[in-house]
């Protein structure tokens, strides 16, 4: 399975993602934002970081990068794309997934482990995964997911909510919402479910000695689903 991780000026989770993808069997290539063409890929990842210093709005500049035309074409042809953290912000700014990510409700940069409940397993990302709750890491200032009432209705009608912030037992409540996101939304799909945008970092949970292994579950399951 071939993957491509896009590096934007200011990306800083691109190499972690590279390590994670390779660990679970992807042949990964790092792609520079100024390139015009994506190599043949089964998966494209927009990594976390602070592309363009978060100028204007997080992800807004990166969403207009040269490589993004190719990424958008890849998306339209049904290619799998994951945007993590800043990558999620780039996805919303590109219009590839609905909504926006606002400043965290309490104006704090949040860096901690969280639990997320998988809301929809009818897709390449979570199909066949045994767990319903995963422990991932978040580190962001603008992760407060927001959309209009009409968009929210559409997202829910199409079952586009991928994961919600919850507690260890999977209870989705206000008190487990770290950043003020509507309905505790931590990640969403596009309508066709080939694109997944999420604030939590699965690539930070792939080593039991450093963190946890729920990221390993995610990547192992993903590559098995793609085979």
């Amino acid at each position: 399975m071939k993957s491509s991780v896009i590096t934007f000026p200011g990306s800083n989770c691109d190499r972690d993602m590279d390590v994670a993808l390779k660990k679970f069997g992807f042949k990964n290539k790092m792609i520079w934002h100024d390139d015009l063409e994506l190599p043949k890929s089964d998966l494209v990842v927009l990594p976390g970081g602070f592309s363009y210093g978060d100028y204007l709005r997080c992800g807004s500049m990166a969403s207009k990068s040269k490589i993004m035309k190719s990424v958008i074409n890849f998306a339209k042809s049904g290619g799998l794309i994951i945007g993590v953290c800043n990558g999620f912000q780039i996805l919303v700014e590109s219009g590839l997934v609905p909504g926006v990510l606002l400043r965290n409700k309490y104006l704090e940069f949040i860096c901690k482990n969280v639990f997320v409940k998988i809301n929809n397993k009818q897709n390449s990302y979570f199909k066949n995964i045994n767990n319903n709750v995963l422990e991932f890491h978040i580190a962001h200032n603008e992760g407060n997911y927001f959309c209009t009432d009409d968009q929210l209705k559409e997202i829910e009608d199409n079952e586009q909510v991928a994961i919600n912030y919850c507690n260890k037992e999977g209870r989705i409540e206000d008190q487990f919402n770290p950043n003020g996101s509507i309905k505790n939304i931590a990640g969403i799909f596009n309508k066709e479910k080939n694109i997944l945008g999420m604030m939590p970092h699965p690539e930070r949970m792939i080593d039991p000695s450093l963190s946890g292994e729920d990221g390993s579950l995610f990547f192992k399951n993903l590559i098995n689903n793609l085979k």
Partner: protein, 80 residues
């Protein structure tokens, strides 16, 4: 030609920074404030000499990049 644009958050979008500024002003003794909303202001200098064309181009820029229309409104306040 200079085109001036302001971008503001839509009414129902939470503005935590505006809220904190409001609280701080309140703490400084400005007790009559009902609400503070923070926005952005741009000055765009263009070679275009036609007033309408310049305005239309900047409007396009607002839609494509300067504003995110899910949460923000833009207003061209001056062209000169």
């Amino acid at each position: 030609m200079k085109v001036s644009v302001i971008i503001t958050l839509k009414k129902d979008v939470l503005d935590p920074q505006g809220k904190v500024i409001h609280q701080t002003l309140d703490g400084m003794g400005y007790k009559d404030i009902e609400e503070v909303r923070q926005g952005k202001y741009f000055e765009i200098y263009t070679k275009e000499n036609d007033l309408k064309k310049a305005k239309d181009k900047v409007e396009e820029m607002c839609k494509k990049l300067l504003a995110n229309l899910v949460i923000e409104n833009y207003k061209i306040i001056d062209v000169q």
